[in-house]
Amino acid sequence: MSIVGVTSRRRIRRIAKGIQGNLLAIPGRLLALIFGILLFLIPAFTSDPYILRFLIFTNIFVIFAVSWDFLCGYAGQVSLGHAAFLGISAYTAALLDTRFGLQPWATIPVGALAGVLGGALIAIPSLRLRGPYFALATLAFPVILTGLIWVFPDVTGGEMGISGLHRLSHSGLTDYYIVLVMTAACVVVMWKLTDARSRMIRTGVILHAIREDEIAARAIGINTVRFKFLAFFVSGFFAGIAGGLYAHTLRVVGPSTLDLFISIQPVIWTVFGGMVTMYGPAVGVYTLYPLMEVLRFVPEYRVLIFAFLAIIILTFMPEGIAVWIRDKIEEECPRCKLANGAWRRYCRACGAPLRLEHAPSSGNSSVVGDTK
């Protein structure tokens, strides 16, 4: 399909068709749209500050988890030290706030830039290490930062951390919308950056190429080092935004932001939801974070039940729950690779049959398509 010579009217029609074809015809995206609208409307149904605050944290963790997926799923650099980004930017925001009295609109961007700096630091070993070696090496960064916090208690507040930060805004409702809009913006930007089918932004397809075969990517002239650095910068930036929002919502920043558990959590959320998808981490956070909250009623068994559930689900759906659901409600066209609703028998774009009549199971449709 060539895009040369498309007139402007046809372009407008294509955008309108694009909304219909890319948003409404794909059940997964339709569900995501409905869910997003619901989130915008929730304050109309309840003004309970507890629920709003809870949703604020959920949304912050969505940014955090999606930034992990960007680095680890899309760029293929599995990091077990993602808390380093959150911690660096949270501490930066807290120090700027308490020492220099800066407002959140200034501290959060600076915190995000500090996250970028952290990304650059972690990127250096990643250029020399691959796969599991790199994953284990990243465990080091939060530990080193925690060590620094203990060594300089005058600056960092030591075990007590830094407290008394400004609130994001004056009311819980405004906080909610600030965080919600930030989350939506961050997720959309990251989704666009990773969209391998986009014709305007090439990062998605290039990262995909590097992930599949780094040597081949180099051979066709991609500067893999530059794109790996880019992935670290982007992921650090968005995790940094999450860190700044987290600091200003919790209003206390302590060494617990660098815990091993904080590093493991985005991994749990993302893998639970489904890696290398943008919706996977969001589904993971929106499933597991409320679950953790409900389990507060049985505090002794909270982590136990949580971890055990994660194990059980991962054992039977190793690709993640969102991918499992997507495969039930969507069918990829074997010829043009377009997503279709599972109720269709023929592809909505090219008309190819989605399933053969005597196909052994619907999961094999792509294999069947290849043999045709």
Binding site: P125, A137, L139, I144, G147, I264, F306, A307
Partner: protein
Amino acid sequence: MVEEIVITGILNGGIFALLAIGFSLVFGVARIINLAHTAFYMIAAYILYALFDLVGLPIYVAATVALIGSTLTGVVTYKTFIERVREHEVTVLLITACAAMVLQELLFIFFGGTYKGAPTFLPGFAEILGVRVPYQHLFTLVAIVVALLITSMFLYRTRLGLAIRATAQDREIANLMGMHVPRVCMITMAVSILLSSFAGVMIAPIYIMEPTMWMHPLLIVCAVVILGGLGSIKGSIVGAFVLGFAESLVVYLIPTGSFLRGAISMAVMLAVLLIRPEGLFGVAFEEERL
């Protein structure tokens, strides 16, 4: 001071070596990064404590039961949860991390979060160079050396050890040569957890026991394994002693050193990696150096 540093360094190094060899073996053979590795070390220590202090078995019986019990727990965990998702690398990371958390929480429920200590195997002190060294420390050192020797004998002198090394080198060829790869993986897992449990039984009387005691050694073991080169036994041992001494130096020489003991190991590891990416004794494959 110097003697204390040396003795603590050797002791730490020995424990880390025991843990790191098992970790490295499982990675090499089954391609599993077992984040629950040190959780089994914790389980062994707690079983020893429970059997001796609460049930009242003789200490050597308790130690043996602890070894067997912890290894069985590990193998059952491997069989039920890890083996079927072995192909998904990140899922394995996650499941093992969750398994460690489950074990930690179970210990919290059964024993509470208070600090525990197990009794010594051998009470008393020896005078070495004017320093009073508990017999327990010497006993641990000897036991570690024996365990390391037995492990290397097993790996280099038996047919099973040969199978394990062959599978680590090339899984497909090993399979073609008639080795039952899943079974070799399971045996490696069992050996690795046995080593880890042995370390746990040995440190139970020396270190303080609490349900989060698995985290610090896990970080160190990761550092040791990368420092020495994944899959290299010699590298694991050397790396373990390097970091063991680094840790004891920091703890004894810097006033707030005990907070820094994790950080210093990580810093040493990163420094080595920047100079030699494949670790001290690791073999760099062309494909892996990018």
